[in-house]
Symmetry: C2
Subunit: 394 residues, 2 copies
């Protein structure tokens, strides 16, 4: 995966000439080109004798293509939309006219006529969490395969007002459906009104009864993490939770607690962080001083990183003195010291399902909610082991 490139600074910049002339449709500064049309177009906006180099050359429309190809604009439309009712010869004429003029369908007009934009809006508060980013990426990629575009609707602050604002802008935005990625519980149907007919899917929230929800199976993941530690022989498992406002955090914490109780274990006090590595560090400092703490489950990997640092500074070895499990499986988790045992979230899957669900709603023109939980799996690395004083080998 890595190579040694001794001293090689040869300005390797240029990726093979690839000059291939072939088909230079457009000169970026293209003063001219654009052939056709020298025969005076009725609109004649060109006049502008004075300075003003407005090269506001009207875009090529179907009518232009139709004229060149010697057909009606409706036929051009049919070709453009792949209608089977066009004879091959005509189709070729139209296509070559399209190429000659560099025709591109105008999506505004198309959307106006069709009443659909083939676009999905994604509302998100922040891209600072790995999960949001990966989910967004998956959404974008999957939507692209369905020929849908993605419009981003950032929300600057996680307040009711902001979210409400984002939703009400929906109505006027060029969007057929909406995916809201919110890790905060702001989506009470009571307080946020969505324009009628807008299809919504929510990631990670409590809006389950009003809108479709897609999410990682948080409880399942936390359960697996805790079970793993208990099976190794730990008496109980401590927990570094995420911020209180986060639903994901809440669900992980709840599952952690329930799993402990189900095994008849004591439930230690919760340490609460804010997802950041820094807060994990502080939590770790405190945990390192707790008697009998041999196993810790942190609600995400970044906090686990902070915990690791704190433990190292306090002379606690991982996993010899304390075992640690994270959540997320960020790409770097395998390079922590030691490599982190963690719960892998399949964000790609989450994004995929989101798109499928909005498209389902758009197709069926209904807003009937569904719920999808994407399973997790535990990735065991080297940050967990049996506790010192217990022998489970027997």
């Amino acid at each position: 995966m890595i190579g040694y490139d001794v001293g090689m600074l040869t300005k390797s910049g240029q990726p093979r000439g690839h000059s291939g002339p072939g088909h230079s449709v457009t000169n970026p500064d293209g003063s001219q080109g654009q052939d056709d049309d020298s025969e005076g177009r009725p609109a004649a906006g060109e006049a502008r004798p004075g300075s003003a180099p407005r090269d506001r050359k009207r875009r090529v429309s179907m009518a232009d293509v139709a004229k060149l190809a010697g057909v009606s604009s409706q036929t051009v439309s049919r070709v453009s939309n792949g209608s089977p009712d066009v004879i091959e010869v005509t189709r070729q004429q139209v296509i070559s006219a399209m190429n000659e003029l560099g025709y591109r369908p105008n999506s505004a007009a198309r959307a106006l006529k069709r009443g659909s934009f083939r676009t999905i809006g994604v509302i998100l508060f922040s891209l600072s969490s790995i999960g949001n980013v990966r989910t967004l990426e998956a959404i974008a990629l999957h939507a692209a395969t369905k020929d849908f575009a993605i419009t981003l609707i950032p929300v600057t602050a996680p307040t009711q007002a902001e979210v409400q604002g984002a939703f009400s802008r929906m109505g006027e935005l060029a969007v057929d459906g909406v995916i809201a990625i919110m890790e905060i519980h702001l989506l009470d149907a009571a307080t946020v009104s969505v324009p009628p007919g807008v299809k919504v899917v929510v990631v990670d929230s409590n809006a389950g009864e009003t809108y479709s929800v897609v999410d990682t199976d948080q409880a399942d993941g936390a359960h697996k993490a805790v079970e793993h530690l208990l099976e190794l022989g730990h008496q109980t498992v401590w927990h570094v939770a995420g911020p209180e406002e986060s639903f994901a955090s809440g669900r992980r914490q709840q599952a952690w607690r329930e799993t402990l109780l189900a095994h008849g274990k004591e439930v230690p006090p919760v340490v609460r962080g804010d997802w950041s590595a820094e807060s994990g560090y502080e939590a770790g400092l405190w945990l390192a001083g707790q008697e009998g703490c041999t196993a810790v489950f942190t609600a995400n990997d970044h906090m686990a990183l902070g915990v690791l640092r704190a433990f190292r500074e306090k002379g606690k070895a991982v996993p010899e003195d304390i075992s640690l499990v994270g959540f997320d499986d960020v790409p770097e988790a395998s390079s922590y010291s030691p490599p982190l045992t963690t719960v892998h979230q399949d964000f790609a899957q989450v994004g995929h399902r989101c798109v499928d669900d909005v498209l389902r709603q758009i197709r069926s023109n209904s807003t009937e909610p569904g719920m999808t939980l994407v399973p997790t799996n535990l990735v065991v690395r080297q940050s967990t082991a049996a506790p010192r004083d217990i022998d489970v080998s027997a």
Copy 2:
């Protein structure tokens, strides 16, 4: 920043007992086959034979509002666009009619008429790098303040064909300008043709003479990193570079080399990684075995994380045995062990400038390229120190 929620486990996990009854759960391996569907192209629409409770209530249009308010639709348009030429009484009538009917402007029609969508397209290959993500976030936020929306145009593979495809889709996409975030040098003007009139800004590439470019001042950052290590008294600085295709990597490497040469230092062989922590780990294993290696500059923080792990495993202490500097200043860098000295990139600034530049081009209707370099600054933490055998205190 973190609070101790001691013992407070009493149901605190479950914010508002929202355990949600009812509500069908769709199994991930979804029996609901509706996946790969026939959605591809809208060849034949709907067909919907029987019932079809299409509540296709035509959307409220200006005409409806006009009728209710007893004015012409043009007056509604004026109110909608904040024209000053409407008398207050009339304006209020229109506004209340709007509210009553729940009118929202139709952006398709608006765009068709205006020839502008107030939308910026962002082409990106991947969201896996921190920089891209943070830049995108900044772009989205800043564009929002300018009342522009963001459309995502993901490119699945960093090939010429893909990028070309993305650009030619531009023409038909509802986009007034484009920001391309590409860390790969694929944007030769010769091979990629942009539809005429499309305003382009490129982040991190070599397209400087054709398109506007905005980027972090990579050379400056690398220079600062190397200078810092040399000032501490190290004889030279080793380098873990990013992948060869990356321009950012190339510039950092080049600046590293030039700085060493400027100080008359020897230039050690380059170790090449691929940005991942894993590749950093491998690089670190190799570096740990090199005689005289006391200072390392890695081209990003994640690789530095891997290097740290390798050094720890090889018994090399940081910074006592080897000093280490990263690049990016990811949020967790301060929680590495030890906290990492690194070059901070101001991605927010980069995104901000991108938007400003596209908007400039859109406003002036020119595509005249500009170039903006955003300065970096070195964040000194605890991974760097003077080498063992040198005394710089004098």
